[in-house]
Amino acid sequence: MTMPRQRMLVSGGSKPSLPNHVRIQFDPLRQAYAVLAPEKIFWPNEISLDILRRCDGSSTVETIVADLASDYDAPEEDVEGDVTTFLQEWSDKLLVRL
């Protein structure tokens, strides 16, 4: 688990993953999924969760986009923009590895 020594940028070929210490966990009390990270807890919405769940380190961003476009019955260009922005933001916070 090496830390990035330069800022990573999202591309179609990136294979995003969650680091070991960032985990998605269902909270039965609040009936919601939490993302637990160092000193932070996030409550992602359904679309964000769908992106994060696909960050398995083997699927490319292109595959994730195609998958989500089909699931949500939305144009790939729109989905691509949203997914790229989301992953760049989460990578910049070191919550996703690219």
Binding site: M1, T2, M3, P4, R5, Q6, R7, M8, P19, N20, H21, R23, Q25, D27, L29, R30, A34, L36, P38, E39, I41, S91, D92, K93, L94
Partner: protein, 371 residues
């Protein structure tokens, strides 16, 4: 009185014992000895009740938490409940193999403090020769064990010029987070306020340095910046609001809304064991005293920021305004906000007159402090 929500975070100060003697320690001025600490079984029971109550993250702190020989068991108990664990350590004197053992039983994250970016500063502030070198070794061992690392740098007059070096140090250790945390003046830090308070020019410079570094290090290292209250315009939402989503537990099981809550003389705190955690969180008069917004006076009561900063810090209101229900004097709207600037000036004059070699009352168990 406002209804309680389930808490998300818990700070467990499992011991007050510590090899360091930092003059701004956030432990109370009256430290508890080892014989007052909860035993393993009671902590594990408390952690179970915390998880049931909704706690998702536990910060294991002290004192120095690794002085508890049962720390591995405590981490394992939390991990078994899916609670995210963060170990807050000074990183001095941790026996071989233990960091690896913490990782093995499920520790999620390690936060390591550095009192200075230079060895001589670290050793002098903590009053412990050789501590800097030991901390470097702890950082290396944590990274080798696969643990993500936060470096915590408490900032004050005697190390504020080292902020650029702290940033380089954290990078060189492979940290993914750095906390540049300006000292909060409660407890020991309040005792040593005149010696610790930085100059305004140094605070401004620090802000610019951190801002530039954050930009430069986007996607490489996160920098959390805890700004100094005395120089602020608005107060911090202390603990995210009193009894709103987090609490802490002292070594003897006293359950507190924040670190310094015991400095508010009108409040009585309950101990885990005498009552369940849920009972204390939901019904304890001390937790309900400043929960929500109903307790507020003006100018907080009608302020549009009342649910942003929740009135700020109750302990700072107590310490400076003499009334725990007053607006935090850090707020520009506080009628005594000017007192903060006056205290900065007083500290500057005191520092100019003080001998350079003995500036602090170092924390010690049993030290008598004349407040």
């Amino acid at each position: 009185m406002s209804a309680s929500l389930p808490p998300i975070g818990m700070l467990a100060e499992i011991t007050h014992r510590c090899p360091l003697q930092c003059p701004y320690c956030s432990n109370p001025v009256e430290l508890l000895k080892a014989n007052r600490e909860l035993d393993t079984r009671t902590w594990l029971d408390l952690f179970d009740q915390a998880a049931d109550l909704g706690v998702l993250q536990v910060h294991l702190s002290g004192g120095e938490p690794t002085l508890r020989r049962d720390l591995e068991q405590l981490i394992a108990g939390l991990a078994a409940r899916g609670v995210y664990t963060n170990l807050i350590t000074a990183g001095v004197g941790i026996a071989d193999g233990r960091i690896e053992a913490f990782a093995e039983v499920g520790l999620d994250h390690l936060q390591l403090s550095f009192q200075g970016a230079r060895a001589e500063t670290t050793d002098r502030i903590g009053n412990h020769g050789g501590s800097h070198e030991k901390k470097l070794e702890t950082a290396r061992r944590a990274r080798a064990a696969g643990l993500p690392l936060t470096i915590n740098a408490p900032i004050h007059r005697h190390n504020i010029e080292e902020v650029p070096e702290f940033i380089e140090l954290a990078l060189s250790l492979g940290a993914e987070r750095l906390e540049i945390a300006n000292v909060q003046y409660a407890g020991w830090a309040l005792t040593n306020r005149d010696a610790l308070m930085p100059d305004r020019e140094a605070v401004d410079r620090q802000g610019e340095i951190v801002e530039a570094a954050r930009e430069r290090l986007t996607g490489i290292m996160n920098i959390d910046f805890v700004t100094p209250d005395y120089f602020a315009t608005y107060p911090k939402p202390c603990m995210g609001g009193w009894a709103r989503d987090a609490f802490m537990v002292a070594p003897d099981g006293a359950v507190l809304p924040c670190h310094a809550a015991q400095t508010i003389p009108s409040l009585a705190f309950e101990r885990f064991g005498a009552r369940t955690l849920a009972g204390i969180w939901n019904d304890s008069p001390a937790f309900n005293a400043f929960r929500g917004t109903d307790w507020m006076q003006e100018p907080c009561r009608s302020c549009e920021r009342r649910e942003i900063d929740w009135g700020g810090c109750r302990c700072q209101a107590m310490a400076i305004a003499g009334d725990a229900a007053a607006t935090d004097p850090a707020c520009v709207k506080s009628p005594i906000h000017a007192r903060m600037a006056a205290l900065i000036d007083e500290a500057r004059h005191a520092a100019e007159g003080a001998p350079a070699d003995v500036p602090f009352v170092h924390r010690r168990i049993g030290t008598v402090v004349d407040m």
